[in-house]
Symmetry: C2
Subunit: 479 residues, 2 copies
């Protein structure tokens, strides 16, 4: 990332700095926790945090979890070096913090356990995406990175899934790098879009690093750099016979006539301006009348799920959609509001209770359940699991249960959260983007059709809480 | 970036890969250009591209240019390595491309000239932000990175500038990393927000790398990890006497009473939920009645420029605003639609002309002027400069002129575009973020008040074209 960020004399391996991708308060809180841990026995406790989304982005009926691979990578690599420590020590606010905190920070590694839903999973509001259990400082300090990575990729995978549903099988290609929020966001958006069902991307780094299929046509400047439009077409076609020709630099239909007249049998054309319905019909008519039946038509230019649905419903003769800005920025609502909340502290010995907490037996440990009660921001306590009930090959409902609750009998259940990391070590091979994409497509098939309807915005999602969890929550009621 | 992206066995210096942060079509076009250059004399020509924004994001009356430092850094570092070349060669679409293209790509460096407005400059639609003149392949291949970097930072600097104007001098702190579009976007958003006038950020990496002032308070989880809320406050305050205490984990006013009753003299409190107007008034009343006059009040939680303006206009007793999601995603419109268009080709010898081009004398060279005529996407031809006319210490109007046009006499002019790079070499020391921020604040002072009014969305911006440029444009009229 440094290379993407900084002046030329400051080039080092970016991985070295990922630990600093954190909100500053994580470090001050860590110092306060650390001092207390030295004075008390708190260090024997593990904190349990869960990430979930309270409210989906506007108009969304479901979300798609994504970004776990990068989150896990961060957890296994996160480390402070001497330069980081010197910088933190140099800040005035840290002047009263003892040297042993900095020594601790220099050695910190993530040693916790991570449960998460696999990438590509469809989720509804308030369902845990990832659950992290670790010593409090470790679990806290990683918050910002985990949120930023999973929030963004889930945002884009969700948008892509909507667009892909709307196109009813016509392929979507992600073209949004130039409007993504910086070069890294471009690559992450390409990854998330592919997971959400896009056929590929124009982002070359995503192709190189993640083996996502690459697509591209040509820019207006290519056409403009030639004296005559047809020269540009001929030149490009002779080198790239499978390439697509961009026809709207001057006038689209005139350009198509030039292609036909020049005897160029192009694989496809791209239309990037004007009315896509009218343009595609006229283009198809021209191509067919010249016998160019196999020439495909690609449309791009500020497309979104609504425009694509309308074009598909009106049977516009379009073979491919290129979607840029609307997809790579999730333009109609560019934020997934995932939060990361303390839901409990697991400990071996009980401590005095008060109205805000309660112990229950959990195998051999005790859990001190934690909730926040701020207006509109209440959280459910305890480490949770999601039991998804499938009926007639459709999601009937999700039951959010406590981690140790038994399955409800008489239904087909799928527990959605799986253990990915234990004591800081990865337990399984992470799936490829190809596998994640396939899994997401299976998830979409399980989704009742109304959730894929762009005009249906559900007030009530099919999510309920187990009786045990609800009873637990009720005990936290103020008063 | 790799560290931010990929699986654990793939850790190398990110700078190595920035050349691949490009749309795939830049590479196919490069191959086509390259073949042609070998056969003709085209390689003696330089392409001139300009980046500009046709239409500002919704509700914006002006934009703030940002991201140039990172763009320039990219231009001086961009390079393909053997692994990149092998990957590109391995793609089926490149099967007919000759080996000498790959050899050329392996050696390519940016050798061009860059004119740009300094970061922090206020601009209006259609004004060139950056002008790049280089051999066609070099000028083309850098498009995606330049657009993505400048579009995003300009988007956020613009949003920040609006928010800072709305707060009428009350400090704004950027808190949005967890909702930014990935970890890199978090750092870039912190930089752009600071340029736009924010007082600082919570992003630790932005503090470390760019020396942007860091701020932070505490999270709800900190309070929740203690048995009693007041224990959390005492513990934190004793280690960080200048720190702020978060009071809304359970009930804000009760928490403030606990702080007072415990005799904690905190520097400030943060309110993160509920009605900020009512809450700040009640909080101030409680604090003042206990003699805690110097305790500051910070508000956070889904704030934007409109809410801040209203709170400031109603004299809410708020000292600091923490702005997250709305700022770091530019939530009401998350895309700056900057485009990068070929405006001319500079050459030493003329070639046959047609209706779409025209030669004029330009010092010793000839320029072949280029425009695109797609519906709604027309561009003005030629390399341009902006003359800003200042009257009574206010921007009166901007005149877009051809690069070699004389200044209009009788006015105070400021030519906005400066030369930053020549033959691929940086000509000047890039300003610090501190200097850019100061320059932007001077720019805001030159802006007529109506452009800072959140309710004023101008139909007509104070931008005109010089007679020479207009005459040139008219010659391109179809027919």
């Amino acid at each position: 990332m440094e290379g993407l960020l900084l002046s030329s004399n400051y080039v080092r391996n970016m991985v070295a700095d990922i630990a600093l991708c954190t909100d500053f308060y994580e470090l001050t809180m860590a110092a306060a926790y650390h001092r207390l841990d030295f004075e008390t026995s708190r260090r024997k406790k593990n904190a349990i945090f869960e990430m979930f989304v309270r409210k989906l982005p506007r108009n969304r009926s479901y979300m798609v979890a994504a970004g776990l691979e990068q989150a896990i990578y961060f957890l296994t690599k996160m480390k402070f070096n001497n330069r980081h420590i010197s910088y933190i020590k140099s800040l005035k606010v840290f002047k009263d913090v003892g040297q042993n905190f900095f020594e601790y920070l220099r050695r910190i590694k993530f040693t916790g356990t991570v449960w998460a839903v696999p990438e590509g999973t469809i989720l509804f509001p308030n369902e845990p995406i990832i659950r992290i259990e670790a010593p409090l400082i470790e679990a806290q300090i990683i918050e910002t990175y985990i949120l930023s990575m999973i929030n963004f990729q889930s945002l884009i995978a969700t948008k892509a899934s909507r667009i892909v549903s709307a196109s009813k099988g016509k392929p979507i290609i992600e073209f949004g790098s130039r409007r993504a929020h910086g070069p890294q966001a471009g690559v992450l958006a390409a990854r998330a879009s592919y997971i959400g069902g896009c056929m590929g991307t124009s982002n070359t780094l995503a192709g190189y690093k993640l083996r996502i299929p690459l697509f591209g046509t040509m820019a207006h400047s290519f056409v403009m750099s030639f004296d005559k439009e047809e020269e540009a077409f001929k030149e490009f076609n002779s080198l790239f016979p499978s390439g697509y020709l961009l026809v709207d630099t001057y006038d689209s239909l005139t350009a198509i006539k030039k292609i036909i007249d020049a005897g160029i049998h192009t694989s496809g054309i791209r239309l990037d301006s004007g009315d896509p319905y009218y343009q595609s019909i006229e283009a198809r008519r021209l191509l067919d009348s010249a016998g160019h039946f196999s020439t495909k038509i690609m449309i791009s230019g500020d497309l979104n799920e609504y425009l694509i649905r309308d074009l598909v419903n009106r049977d516009a003769p379009i073979d491919y959609f290129g979607v840029g800005t609307e997809l790579s920025t999730s333009r109609d609502d560019p934020a997934m509001n995932g939060v990361y909340k303390l839901v409990g502290i697991r400990t071996h010995k009980p401590s005095p209770s008060n109205v805000k907490k309660k112990y229950i037996d959990n195998q051999n440990d005790k859990i001190l359940y934690k909730i926040k009660t701020s207006p509109g921001k209440k959280t459910y306590p305890g480490p949770k699991q999601i039991h998804r009930i499938i009926e007639n090959n459709m999601i009937k409902e999700d039951v959010i249960v406590l981690e140790d609750e038994k399955k409800i009998s008489g239904h087909l259940h799928v527990p959605l959260l799986r253990k990915f990391l234990e004591n800081g070590k990865i337990l399984c091979k992470m799936p490829s983007v190809e596998e994640i994409r396939r899994y997401h497509s299976q998830q979409v098939n399980l989704l009742p059709p109304k959730f894929k309807d762009l005009d249906f915005v559900p007030e009530v999602f099919p999510v309920i809480y187990s009786e045990k969890l609800q009873a637990m929550m009720n005990q936290f009621k103020p008063g």
